[in-house]
C-alpha cells in the first residue's frame, strides 16, 4: 500500500511531540524513548516501495480516467505528466539510508539515556524531530518541501547543540544561525528562480520542463538558480567555506549528539546533491565545481584534523573531510561512481557515528577532550580501546570492514571514468585519515598517563559498549556482503542517469 510512506516522517514527529510533552518525568521519558527508538529502524522495513502523492492527486498519465473530460489543451501538452501534489519517492536506496538512520538514532538514544543521569525529554524530542526532518528531506520529490525540512533540520541541530553541557556552545550556535540565515535564503532564492522559470517546484516536473525545451538550457536565470542552490548545498553539507563552523558544531555537542548531527549532514548532502545532479546535469561546469569543492573539502578537512589538539574537533574535521569522498563520487557521475558514493555515504555514517560514541566514552571517563592532558587510558578499559582501534582500521579502509569496499569501488570508478589523479588523491588522504586516527589513539590510550589527570566516573555504562559492538558488527556485515547495499544503489544510479 502506498499510503504508508508518509508514516516514515509522521512516526518520528509523533514520538518527538509525545517525548517533549512528558519532559519532566524521567522514567516515562526513558521508556518512551526506547520504545520509539526501536520503532524507527523497523518502520522502513514494512513500508513497501512506490510514490506517495499527498492528497491523492496522482499525475494524469497515471490514471487517465480523470483525463477523459479534460480539454485537449491539457491532455496533449506537457501538463499531462506534471505532478499536481507533493510526491514522496520511496525506493530501495531510500529504504537502506532510512534504516541506517534508524539504527544510529536508536543507538544514540540508548547511549544518551544511560550516560546522562536525568533523561531529558527535550533532547530526545530534538533528535526525533531532526530524524523526521532529514527523512523527509530524503524522500521528497518537491524542492520547496525539501527547503522547509532543511530549515527544520538546521533549527534542530542548533537545539541539539544547546542541549550539551560544554561551555561556549551559545557562541557556536549563534554563529551557525548567522551563516544559516545567509545561505538558506540564497537556497530559497535559487528555488524561487526555478519556480519562476518552470512554474512548478516538483523536481521531476522541472526536469521535464528543461528537457522538453520549455526553458532554454543556457538561460542565464537557470545558471543563476544552479549557482544559488549549489551555495545552499555547500552550507547544508559543511563543504569548504562552512567546514570550520560545521566541525565547531560537532565539537560543541555531546559526543553521541555529534554522532547524530553528522548523520543529518550526510543525509542533507546526499539528498540535495542528487537533486542538483538530476536538475542541472546538462551544465558540464557543475561537475567540475563539485569536484573541486569536494577535493578542497577533503584536503582542508583532513589537513586541519591532524593538527588539532582537541580530539572531538579532530573527529569533527575528519567527518567533514570524509564527506569529500562522497562529493567526488557524485561529481564523477558514472553509474559505478554514484553507487560507490552512496555506499561510501552509508559507511561514513556508521563509522563516524562509531568514532564519536567511542570518543564519548573517553569524555565520560575523564571529562576533558584536550589530548595534551590525556593518556594511559588503555589500562582503564582495554575492550573499548580494542573496538576504537577496529573503528580506526575500518575508517582507513582495512579489508574486512565496509569502508574498504566503498573506497575501492570509488577509486575504481574514478580510474574507469578517466580521472586517475582523483584516485591518487583519495589514497593519499585515506592514509592521512588513518594517521590522524593513530594520533588520537596514541595520545589517548598509549601515551603515559599524566599525573594531574583524574578519572571522574569509574565504569563506562555497559550500554555504550554494546552499541559500539553492534555498530561494528553492522560494519563488518556490510564489508563482507556489500551486494546487499550496492545493487539497490546501482539500480537507483541507473534510474538517475
Amino acid at each position: 500500500m502506498d499510503s504508508f510512506i508518509p508514516l516514515l516522517v509522521i512516526v518520528p514527529i509523533f514520538c518527538a511531540i509525545l517525548l517533549n510533552l512528558c519532559h519532566g518525568k524521567d522514567k516515562l521519558v526513558k521508556l518512551l524513548a526506547l520504545i520509539f527508538g526501536i520503532t524507527l529502524p523497523i518502520t522502513p522495513i514494512f513500508v513497501n516501495y512506490g510514490n506517495h502523492f499527498f492528497g491523492g492527486y496522482s499525475p494524469l498519465f497515471l490514471n487517465s480516467s480523470w483525463a477523459t473530460n479534460l480539454p485537449s489543451t491539457i491532455t496533449n501538452s506537457i501538463l499531462f505528466n506534471f505532478h499536481p501534489a507533493i510526491t514522496y519517492v520511496f525506493g530501495g536506496m531510500q529504504q537502506i539510508f532510512i534504516f541506517i538512520l534508524g539504527i544510529l538514532t536508536f543507538f544514540v538514544i540508548f547511549t544518551s539515556l544511560n550516560e546522562s543521569k536525568r533523561a531529558s525529554g527535550v533532547y530526545t524530542f530534538l533528535i526525533f524531530m531532526g530524524t523526521a526532518a532529514v527523512t523527509a528531506v530524503f524522500l521528497t520529490d518537491d524542492i520547496f518541501h525539501l527547503y522547509i525540512f532543511f530549515e527544520i533540520s538546521v533549527m534542530t541541530q542548533v537545539g541539539i547543540i544547546l542541549c550539551s553541557n560544554i561551555q561556549r556552545k551559545h557562541e557556536t550556535a549563534l554563529k551557525y544561525m548567522f551563516l544559516s540565515n545567509i545561505a538558506a535564503p540564497m537556497l530559497l532564492l535559487g528555488i524561487g528562480l526555478l519556480l519562476g522559470l518552470t512554474g512548478n517546484v516538483n523536481i521531476s516536473d522541472i526536469i521535464i520542463a528543461i528537457k522538453t525545451g520549455v526553458v532554454t538550457p543556457d538561460n542565464p536565470v537557470l545558471l543563476m538558480a544552479a549557482a544559488l542552490i549549489l551555495f545552499g548545498w555547500l552550507y547544508g553539507s559543511g563543504l569548504p567555506p562552512f567546514h570550520s563552523i560545521k566541525s565547531a558544531m560537532y565539537s560543541k555537542a555531546t559526543p553521541h549528539a555529534a554522532a547524530i548531527l553528522q548523520v543529518f549532514t550526510v543525509f542533507i548532502f546526499v539528498s540535495l546533491g542528487i537533486v542538483i545532479i538530476r536538475i542541472f546535469a546538462f551544465i558540464s561546469l557543475l561537475r567540475w565545481i563539485i569536484m573541486i569543492i569536494s577535493a578542497l573539502a577533503m584536503i582542508l578537512g583532513i589537513s586541519m584534523a591532524i593538527t588539532q589538539h582537541d580530539f572531538k574537533r579532530m573527529i569533527g574535521y575528519l567527518a567533514v573531510g570524509e564527506l569529500g569522498y562522497v562529493g567526488l563520487g557524485l561529481a564523477i557521475g558514472t553509474i559505478q561512481s554514484i553507487t560507490a558514493c552512496l555506499f561510501q555515504a552509508v559507511n561514513e555514517i556508521l563509522l563516524t557515528g562509531l568514532l564519536f560514541i567511542g570518543v564519548g566514552t573517553i569524555l565520560y571517563k575523564t571529562g576533558t577532550t584536550d589530548t595534551n592532558k590525556l593518556g594511559g587510558m588503555l589500562t582503564e578499559n582495554p575492550f573499548v580501546a580494542f573496538i576504537f582501534l577496529l573503528t580506526g582500521f575500518a575508517m582507513a579502509g582495512v579489508p574486512p570492514f565496509n569502508a574498504f569496499q566503498s573506497k575501492l569501488l570509488l577509486i575504481q570508478s574514478a580510474l574507469n571514468a578517466g580521472f586517475p589523479e582523483l584516485g591518487v588523491l583519495m589514497i593519499i588522504l585515506s592514509i592521512v585519515t588513518f594517521m590522524t586516527f593513530v594520533k588520537v589513539f596514541y595520545t589517548v590510550y598509549l601515551k603515559p598517563q599524566p599525573e594531574n589527570m583524574k578519572i571522574i566516573n569509574k565504569k563506562i555504562p555497559q550500554v555504550t559498549v554494546i552499541s559500539m559492538v553492534l555498530l561494528l558488527i553492522v560494519c563488518i556485515m556490510l564489508g563482507l556482503f556489500p551486494n546487499i547495499v550496492t545493487n539497490a544503489f546501482s539500480q537507483f544510479a541507473m534510474g538517475l542517469l
Binding site: L228, I302, S303, E421, L425
Partner: protein
C-alpha cells in the same frame, strides 16, 4: 643539528606566536604531515585542469608551485585563515557566493 631538530625549532618558533602549548614529537609529526598533504594534494588536484586544456594545466601547476614555495609553512597560515571568528566565516561565505555566481554566469561557455 639534523633535519628533525631544524624542523622542530621552526615549528616551535611558529607556534610560539600562535598557541603557547608544548611542542611534542606528535605535534611536530602532525604539522609535517599536514604540510606535506596540503602541498601534494593541491598539486595533484591541479592536474585535473588537463581536461580543460593541457597548457592551462602546465601554467596552473607552475603558478601553484610558485605560490607554495614563496610562503612555505602553509599550515600556520591555513590554520589562521580558518579560525572560528564570525566575520571571517561570513567573509569567506560571501566570497564563495560571488565566485560561484560569476563562474556560472560567465564560465559556462568555456568548459
Amino acid at each position: 643539528m639534523n633535519l628533525y631538530d631544524l624542523v622542530n625549532d621552526k615549528i616551535k618558533q611558529i607556534q610560539s606566536k600562535t598557541e603557547n602549548e608544548t611542542v611534542s614529537g606528535v605535534s611536530t609529526a602532525s604539522y609535517l604531515a599536514s604540510e606535506l598533504v596540503v602541498i601534494v594534494s593541491i598539486l595533484i588536484t591541479s592536474i585535473l585542469l588537463r581536461k580543460i586544456n593541457p597548457i592551462l594545466m602546465i601554467m596552473g601547476i607552475l603558478v601553484i608551485f610558485a605560490i607554495i614555495l614563496t610562503n612555505m609553512p602553509i599550515m600556520p597560515k591555513l590554520r589562521r585563515a580558518q579560525n572560528d571568528s564570525l566575520n571571517n566565516m561570513m567573509f569567506y561565505a560571501l566570497i564563495t557566493l560571488a565566485l560561484l555566481v560569476s563562474m556560472f554566469y560567465w564560465g559556462v561557455k568555456y568548459v
